[in-house]
Amino acid sequence: MATKAASPVIPVNQTPKLNYLNNGHGLKSWLLTTDHKRIALLYLVSVSIFFFIGGIFAMLIRLELLTPEGDLLSADNYNKAFTQHGMIMVFFFLIPVVPAVLGNFLVPLMIGAKDLAFPRINLLSWYLYITAGILFLHCMLNGGVDTGWTFYSPFSTEYTNTNIVEAGIAVFIAGFSSIFTGLNFIVTVHRMRAPGMTWDRLPLFIWANYATSLIMILGTPVIAITIVLVAVERLFHLGIFDPRLGGDPLLFQHLFWFYSHPAVYIMILPSMGVISELIACFARKRIFGYKFVAISSMAIAVFGFLVWAHHMFVAGISLYAAMIFSFLSFSVGVPSAVKVFNWTATLYKASITYATPMLYAFGFIGLFTIGGLTGLMLATIGIDVHVTDTYFVVAHFHYVMVGGVLMGYLGGLHFWWPKITGRMYPEGWAKLSALFVFVGFNLTFFPQFILGYLGMPRRYWQYPPEFQVLNVLSTAGASILAVGYLLPMIYLLWSLRYGPIADANPWNAAGLEWKTSSPPPTFNFDETPVVTWEAYNYDEIPEKELEAPVAR
């Protein structure tokens, strides 16, 4: 193994040693753990379960839409299916997935800390998350909700007879889980950095999670109170949003999107951080324009709070409000574009290998570019009036949320899998599944752009027959995509037992997390590291032999 040179500071113990996985056994040692790495694994298991459930609903939706008639599901069941799909994927998968799994595992490791600042609050967040999840599943098994994930009033407050209150409480609790995660990250980054780990040496993944955390603590309380008001209105027939009782349904939309627009940045920013790490490692280069990429994360977090009403251009807001929000929406496009340009520029004069994580990074750049540019189309009000609330919007946010967030997550999961488990995943299968994901994804969602421009509204159980061919294509793509997602579930589990043993730094990567053993010991580092180098100091890391990135 060629890792000895890569660890100038901390000697890496090559013999099997006590690590966070074998330090303590039994259910109790997991359920009462305060180790951020174990909590990350608890999250990994639980978000995977929710992803699977949300995926089943996605398949139901796609199967229903194979034919123009509503035949597979009843109208009510279809409405429930897309609502559960949206709520589970947004609140129980996309929001926690990268921060709570990869972030939880990596934030302390990357800054050289022994743990997050508040380990018990970290465990509490997971319990809140799982309580919310169980409550939501209970609600789902008892009939579910049918408002769409957006809870629009007065449908949600007065007209639907499904259990909004229970679903609302679940979202409320899940929100607090995310607030506590964000709070923990911010304090950790401020107070727990190792000596020498200055702000300008932080990995970009940390910057991304820091920006995300700011949104979490500033935005989530607003959705929490909004949902409380919906529940209270429903229970006591108050008139806060219902126009028949003097309320204003647009106020609900404002409050809802004040959180839920920044929430998409909660989802995408950490994945962008992952992509920066992957590209730096597999291009063996410092990220082009480190400072600008870091600033752009913060800029996205700030601008993200100023654009919420672009979801409401046809909702009845004033002409001038719409124009201002359209203008501001373009401003958030700039920092996103800056990131894409910098990643691309990093490839210039690089030394690139095509390991699976890098394939996901390439996929991310491509899909995020399309997702981002279609976002500009939606920010253009003249176009938005036509395509909002159609499949164009559905395609756009899946390009960002699935093409972006999920590609980043899968790339990151493969990249840090050896660190998390101490085993390598099977490279061949991984490349195959990355291909399945990329092809399946585009086949699923690209036709939906056309459907949207043709005018097929979203949340439609039945549709005019001329839209069928495109819908069939989309469903076919979804089947390929499903295979692409099932494969990693299988081979990653397989690798836990049969995967090749990974050494401390199988990718020969920079970053403190690679300077401790795989899997890391409970307190991360045998002695607190002292950082004397910039982030991504690949010029100081000798290259391995050509076939290296896969350990035997």
């Binding site: 305060t34 800390a113 022994k114 743990d115 997050l116 600042a117 508040f118 380990p119 018990r120 609050i121 509490l124 607030i179 506590f180 709070l183 923990n184 911010i186 304090v187 950790t188 401020h190 107070r191 727990m192 603590i217 500033l218 935005g219 989530t220 309380p221 607003v222 929490a224 109170i225 909004t226 409380v228 008001l229 209270v232 209105e233 006591f236 027939h237 108050l238 008139g239 806060i240 028949r244 009782l245 003097g246 309320g247 204003d248 106020l251 409050l255 004040f258 307190f523 607190t528």
Partner: protein
Amino acid sequence: MHDSRAIPGPASTTTTQVATADHEVHNPALLHHFADAQQQKNAASLGMWLFLVTEIMFFGGMFCAYLIYRLAHFNAFAAGSQQLDIKMGAINTAVLIVSSVTVVLAVKAAEVGKRKLLTGYLVVTVLLGMTFLVVKGFEYKEKFEKHHVPGPSFNFTDKFDDNGKQIPVNSKEAELFFSLYFAMTGMHALHMIIGCGLFGTLAVLAWKGHYAPSYFTPIENAGLYWHLVDIIWIYLFPLLYLISRHS
């Protein structure tokens, strides 16, 4: 080692304090993952401040709704406002301001290590908090009696007294005022109840001698929480009770 001392964070303060009451160790408060006590204290206080930020955003949503509706339905909101008991509101404001003073004194007492004094101030704070809640209870009772609680039995026939002119108001809009009144003061009262529980626990622990000049972060952080809840009331009182009474 792990649960040797409470993490002075917003959520776990109460429970962990109780759980660890009988664990006195030499280095009382330092958790394994902090380098030194100063780092831990800084982390705890930053965490608390961030939590307070989330609280402000939480109430901010309701303040925002209140201000928008007040602009939209001015007469009804003014009429509703005129039905609130300004005396009780003022008493409660005074009670809370005094309680903030006792919190400051408690922190000071903890800083200089006066155990009995600290416990005393904490107990007084809890009593003041409860006084507030009792007064609030009487106010709510009055609203019930006057059928000013939103719902099927809501009945609002009062008129808006605009310098002697009696302007009838839409009862639906008055109901909206009382909806927001109950939502905002109810949420505030919930925070008061949590605060009383928190301070009660701290008082017990302080009596048992858990805090010393070298470690009283939980007192400080709970104090920050209490001040925030007070400040929210300081905004609620004029917004709900005062600003529409321009006669």
